[in-house]
Symmetry: C3
Subunit: 260 residues, 3 copies
């Protein structure tokens, strides 16, 4: 399987021609759209979604992510191998969280000039998804090209998202890493970090939220915190948008501590 995560939207044919470029190299592959609505200047959000979703994809999956405000400039393209899946993206922080979270992740800087054996070259200055990353994903999925051939090892741009961490007093610190269409706030805090805390309470700005098991447990209009279906801490509002109601922004600090 190949997945796509971009900021292209679906109003224009950009996603379609990228798929055509892939399907011409690899007939009958499943190409799955994760999202084409990442905020254009927030590549880290695309990486966070990939980290949420990856457990639902089989070994050998190739994930292509293109959120690339710097297309056409000198920023590099990266390939990351982590837990038997491959990730292709610009080196702009998009894969930073994923690399920090998996100490075994391997990173290569893609040498585009060395991809000519696979008939991949810079055809345009502005559409690397269609011209480079998409075709490369197809070659990798077809096993006609190996991860090791892509270029030299590299250190990825860490980006603006760090893994959540536990402080000496047991408090857990993370941030809002994605806001979904319902206005739910998804955080970098995962279930394991919360599970270790007795009577966990979630703090965002001046507000506190108790942890519930499902949305259904909240009364209409109430805010709740819960471990969502991706296994990460989420702050939601029953029948409404937590993001709007709390005026919470991407990157806001979230703390989990034991209730006194």
């Amino acid at each position: 399987m190949i997945t796509l995560t971009t900021d292209f939207g679906t109003r224009d044919p950009y996603v379609g021609v990228m798929k055509a470029a892939m399907l011409q190299r690899l007939d009958r592959i499943d190409i799955i759209d994760l999202t084409h609505e990442v905020a254009p200047f927030r590549p880290e959000e695309a990486g966070f979604w990939l980290q949420c979703c990856r457990a639902h994809f089989p070994d050998g999956s190739v994930h292509v992510a293109v959120v690339d405000p710097g297309v056409g400039t000198e920023r590099a393209l990266l390939a990351v191998r982590s837990q038997r899946q491959l990730f292709l993206a610009p080196d702009n922080g998009l894969l930073g969280l994923l690399c920090q979270t998996d100490p075994c992740a391997e990173t290569r800087r893609i040498e585009v000039a060395a991809l000519t054996p696979w008939r991949i070259a810079t055809r345009s200055a502005t559409f690397h998804g269609r011209d480079i990353l998409g075709p490369l994903a197809a070659e990798l999925a077809a096993a006609r090209c190996q991860f090791e051939q892509l270029g030299p090892p590299a250190q990825p741009d860490p980006g603006r998202l760090e893994p959540a961490r536990r402080l000496a007093d047991g408090t857990v610190k993370g941030v809002v890493a994605a806001i979904d269409r319902y206005g739910n706030l998804l955080t970098t805090v995962d279930a394991g970090l919360v599970a270790a805390l007795p009577r966990p309470q979630v703090h965002l700005g001046q507000r506190q939220f108790d942890l519930v098991r499902t949305y259904g447990e909240a009364t209409a209009g109430a805010y709740v915190a819960l471990i969502n279906s991706f296994g990460v801490l989420e702050i939601a509002r029953s029948g409404g948008s937590a993001a709007a109601g709390l005026a919470a922004e991407w990157g806001a600090n979230v703390t989990v501590a034991s209730k006194r």
Copy 2:
């Protein structure tokens, strides 16, 4: 074929991971998106669209519909077999109209705890589409699982949409069951009910509309009623939105009677 009808939107990767869950079980199936934009609190609309679309799908198709404000609460999951197609959805009225329309429809209450032979279990409290209904659709489409194995017969929640009916004086009564992006009002009244009436005229609130054959017959800005491409009565506005112009809402009464 498997179809998906949800309120997940396409901004977040929820649809993508649901497809991944299905494709891992059933390689190379066609998964068709019907819509992911059903109004979240209107499961009946999803069921109405399924009823409109089903004639265009082959025998053996499995339709998965997830519009589920009560996810995580005690509401059941249903499977319905009707005219050689299967429908999976929460028991919240979504499949009520479909079951009332087909007296031969069979309904089972899905016993999730009994699905372990197919490696299906409640993995999360909030994403039954990905964890239960999607995988189950794949198993059913692959014929590794039979309808009869899903659970005991059940009576579905009828929901808020009833089939249109003919009164003793010949008048036909139905409701607005869906409003599409153009602002067209689709009703529960089907072509057969209208065909039996001489000189049919359509009533909505205080307004009357003559029946035309195509949108093209109306002058710009005019309201018309017509039998649409799904074979149901629709009220439309040439070059505009009937819903906006008529301030018509979902569930509004629509009557068809002979013109005097």
Copy 3:
């Protein structure tokens, strides 16, 4: 491959049932969505996008485009064969630019009444994409039906877009033929016409723009002109919408001349 370009949107199940109609005739074909968000009254924009995208599709591809304000009226349906690809669309100007650009393009007027050998007929007055063009694309892609069998040669409606042209003084004249979601203005002027001009400068209304190689070369907020990834001249604004900032509309004149 088959591509779809429509104004159906993705909120309603119209695209899904059209795909179902095709997949029932041709199992396991790749159907690629180019866009379903063409402006409903601008069929020429759909044709322009097709012309941009066609180079990325293989020989034998069948492109179906349905932007059809006149559905149900007497307008014809057309098939065009150009450079080993097929295009199916209403005869309303949609394929006009494409036919004018390729002097070898062949056009047939589809005789719907003659399609009964392929079990294609007018089932509804308002959904020719599902009932005629989609099924026909599947038959053509499966090579069960030949272009020559579709109907007599025809002269397509030229529509409102003409190919860009070079005047006697070397100046190039074109128009804004599409506005994408970023507000970029795509024009009918292709790279070849611009390449012939020394020191090209782009004029739109009272404004002039220098030609750059990539978006990345512009300072934030600045307008630039560039040859985009489809090989056509585009006017863009760094970090913003050129369409909004310039109040530029579809069809606006664009001139390229040598800078003095």
